[in-house]
């Protein structure tokens, strides 16, 4: 019989450590998920980033202390966003809420889907910091606030 309890001890773990572990795992899981969905391997990602496969493997174990620079490079290589801010997540929720609650939302759905595709294309085209991207984001933001008011009504 073990004398110590992992669950009890985990209750004393500081919140910042809990967040660190949770976010690290979530990031690694998300990258793994995208790789699987696209039929790519860790070696493919290593080649795309010019890194050794062993390094990528360590990253994907969930303990790597990613910098934003590395995250951006991975997003560029995979052509997909990995980390979303709370604001971006709300936009996604709004997007799906519109589909469920608003019967006249079919046009909105396709319009917004097109925006999302455009954003993904921009990442693929490696234009993440251009003014085009910025205005596209602003468009989407404006669009979503309209959508939000539409749903609330």
């Amino acid at each position: 019989m073990s004398k110590h309890s992992i669950k009890l001890r985990a209750q004393k773990v500081p919140v910042e450590i809990k967040l660190l572990v949770s976010k690290s795992l979530a990031t690694a899981k998300q990258i793994n998920k995208i790789l699987k969905a696209r039929g790519k391997t860790q070696r493919d990602l290593a080649n795309l980033l010019g890194k050794k496969e062993s390094e990528i493997s360590k990253w994907l174990q969930g303990t790597h202390n990613f910098t934003y620079k590395t995250i951006c490079k991975i997003e560029m290589a995979l052509g997909e966003q990995i980390i979303f801010t709370a604001d971006q997540a709300i936009q996604n929720v709004t997007f799906y809420r519109a589909i469920v609650t608003n019967k006249t939302s079919q046009d909105i759905f396709f319009n917004n889907a097109q925006k999302a595709i455009n954003l993904n294309s921009l990442i693929k085209q490696k234009l993440t910091t251009t003014t085009d991207n910025l205005s596209e984001n602003q468009d989407l933001r404006k669009f979503n606030s309209l959508l939000e008011s539409c749903c609330n009504n």
């Binding site: 019989m1 073990s2 004398k3 110590h4 309890s5 992992i6 669950k7 001890r9 985990a10 773990v13 500081p14 450590i17 809990k18 660190l20 572990v21 949770s22 795992l25 690694a28 899981k29 793994n32 493997s57 360590k58 994907l60 174990q61 969930g62 303990t63 790597h64 202390n65």
Partner: protein
């Protein structure tokens, strides 16, 4: 020197992973208990120890033994705290069973556990216990795995220093 070692279920149940520990038959504490006692409350290892505990707690409930363990060779793994001062060694039996061993401080100048006599002993004992278990499951009906749990005779005699 030959010693008898037991593989025992860890007391707590988790949703996705069953943890086991190793204990020498002539001792009261498991190797994981020793690790816990050595580092819990030691301020110089507080962050590393907290990360290991949170990791065990999270992986226990969410799973991820296939992806989120540091490879140390074959079934031998470590809680992959690459930036940590501590290592906890584990033996992965399958995707939902893992045996927790002992661990310790791995200073930066120590490249691999083989370079540190203490870490090397922990790994060697754990690996021997794990190998014996796998052989017994493979070659006899004395031990088996059913629904993510180990059954049968889980006592082994291993060569240790």
């Amino acid at each position: 020197m030959k010693r008898k070692i037991l593989i025992e279920p860890y007391e707590e149940e988790f949703a996705a992973v069953n943890y086991y520990v190793i204990r020498f038959k002539d001792e009261e504490d498991s190797e994981f208990d020793k690790f816990f006692e050595k580092f819990d409350g030691d301020e110089s290892f507080a962050e590393s120890f907290n990360i290991i505990i949170e990791w065990l707690n999270t992986i226990g409930d969410e799973g991820g033994l296939n992806d989120h363990l540091r490879n140390e060779g074959g079934s031998l793994k470590a809680i992959p705290i690459v930036t940590s001062k501590l290592r906890l060694y584990c033996f992965k039996v399958n995707e939902c069973i893992i045996i927790l061993g002992n661990g310790g401080h791995k200073p930066k100048h120590v490249k691999a556990y083989q370079d540190d006599p203490e870490l090397n002993k922990y790994v060697s004992d754990l690996r021997e216990a794990g190998r014996n278990l796998k052989n017994r499951i493979r070659n006899s009906s004395m031990a088996s795995i059913y629904q993510c749990k180990l059954y049968g005779n889980l006592e082994f005699e291993i060569e240790t220093t």
